[in-house]
């Protein structure tokens, strides 16, 4: 199951490209396009300009797979957050390692993106802890009732996190800002290292979607539907809004994300759901 996450993520990426194309009145590539891209990248000549980069690319995929495994086996959410953070750090250090101004600038922006969304995720997990009394995913399943009914605002805050995670407008400052940064943090990767990074991105996307589906834990079908709706909203927002600066990203995520979760927790405390 954990090893199937890259495949699910790859399919989601294909759906993303198809839907984006349809929103722009284009036909769009086939659903399996991300797999073709990764296979082709795998077959390219190896051109590496720093010996650390392949190791870090393997690290990115490795940590992403470990995080996916932790979610599949219903482990601790905090551990998932830190392992995913390690994957991001691998990517960022690899971007810093190449002697390229585009890569370096994107690496700094990637760090700022992490600084934006990780505290919001941490706060959302803390809110889940306050409701269920446990940081583990098993605890969410044992809680029984759907989390969406008690923590709706936290899910909205995680929508902002999903936008940054998928590197979509308006917060695609580090990954997709091709008008200013060529290919962002991915600029200096080529051949099989880029294929590894792509696999890691699919895994991370699938992991995040699995975490979002926990908001209706009693039924995986409804949970999956909720995460797919959130995925679709991200694509809508991506096609509607232009890119903002990283300052705006940090301000929006912290102000809106923190406020939503704190208000939700405060409302629950007033309502007597939590102590």
């Amino acid at each position: 199951m954990a090893l199937a996450t890259p495949l699910i993520g790859g399919l989601l990426m294909g759906v993303d490209r198809k839907l984006t194309a349809r929103m722009q009145e284009r036909v769009g590539p086939p659903l399996a396009q991300p797999f073709y891209d990764a296979l082709k990248l795998w077959g390219k000549t190896v051109m590496i300009d720093s010996s650390l980069q392949p190791a870090l690319a393997f690290g990115y995929l490795g940590f992403a797979l470990v995080a996916a495994g932790l979610v599949t086996f219903r482990q601790n959410l905090l551990l998932v957050l830190f392992v995913t953070g390690m994957a991001d750090i691998c990517l960022t250090v690899a971007a810093f390692d190449a002697k390229s101004p585009y890569s370096y600038l994107s690496g700094r922006r990637e760090f700022l993106a992490m600084l934006s969304y990780e505290p919001v995720m941490l706060l959302a997990y803390t809110a889940i802890f306050m409701v269920t009394g446990s940081f583990t995913i098993r605890g969410i399943y044992e809680y029984g009732a759907p989390l969406l009914l008690v923590l709706p605002a936290a899910l909205v805050a995680l929508e902002i996190v999903l936008v940054i995670e998928m590197k979509k407008s308006p917060f695609d400052v580090s990954g997709h800002a091709h008008q200013e940064l060529v290919r962002g943090v991915f600029t200096e990767f080529s051949g099989y290292t880029m294929a590894l990074i792509e696999l890691g991105r699919w895994t991370k996307l699938a992991t995040t979607m699995m975490i979002l589906s926990l908001f209706w834990a009693p039924s995986p079908v409804i949970g999956g539907a909720i995460s797919l709706v959130m995925f679709f909203v991200v694509l809508m927002v991506d096609n509607l809004y232009p890119r903002l600066t990283w300052q705006r990203m940090l301000r929006t995520t912290w102000a809106v994300g923190f406020a939503l979760i704190l208000l939700n927790v405060a409302a629950l405390a007033v309502g007597g759901v939590i102590l």
Binding site: G28, P29, P30, Y36, L39, G43, T45, V182
Partner: protein
């Protein structure tokens, strides 16, 4: 045909470099990405990063200022790669062929696989050129025109 070779035909990433033309051909290259032609349905993406590209699309004549840049870009694209010269200027130098600052067509600096003539080359022609390059990448000999 191996799996990688099959994938190669379904996913072509393009790096587009203007060597100093009038931008007419560049507009036509970009027109191929618009909803009307939509080359992304064949997996063709204008990636802009030479290190991840498969096909170089070159427009305009080469001059002494940018021949080094063009050479560097060519060497940064990993094999297997294809080079397409789009427009009369990129093919032969065009109306600039006798200018003192112009070297001529892009084949004076890098080896060219497919020539797409025209001033400016039409998007259909450019897509046809990319398909020809795709066939060459797959190892099929392109059919000769009579």
């Amino acid at each position: 045909m191996t799996l990688v070779q099959k994938a190669r035909l379904k996913s072509l990433w393009v790096v587009h470099f203007d060597c100093g033309g009038c931008n007419g051909c560049d507009i036509e290259v970009l027109a191929a990405l618009t909803p009307k032609f939509d080359v992304e349905r064949f997996g063709i993406v204008n990636i802009g990063d030479p290190k991840q590209a498969d096909i170089m699309v070159l427009t305009g004549p080469v001059n002494h200022k940018n021949k080094r840049v063009l050479r560097d870009l060519y060497e940064e694209v990993p094999d297997p790669k294809m080079v397409i010269a789009v427009g009369t200027c990129a093919c032969t130098g065009g109306i600039f062929h006798n200018c003192p600052n112009i070297l001529g067509g892009v084949n004076k600096v890098v080896p060219v696989d497919v020539y797409v003539p025209g001033c400016a080359a039409r998007p259909e022609q450019i897509i046809d050129g990319v398909v020809l390059a795709m066939k060459k990448l797959a190892g099929e000999a392109p059919e000769e025109d009579e």
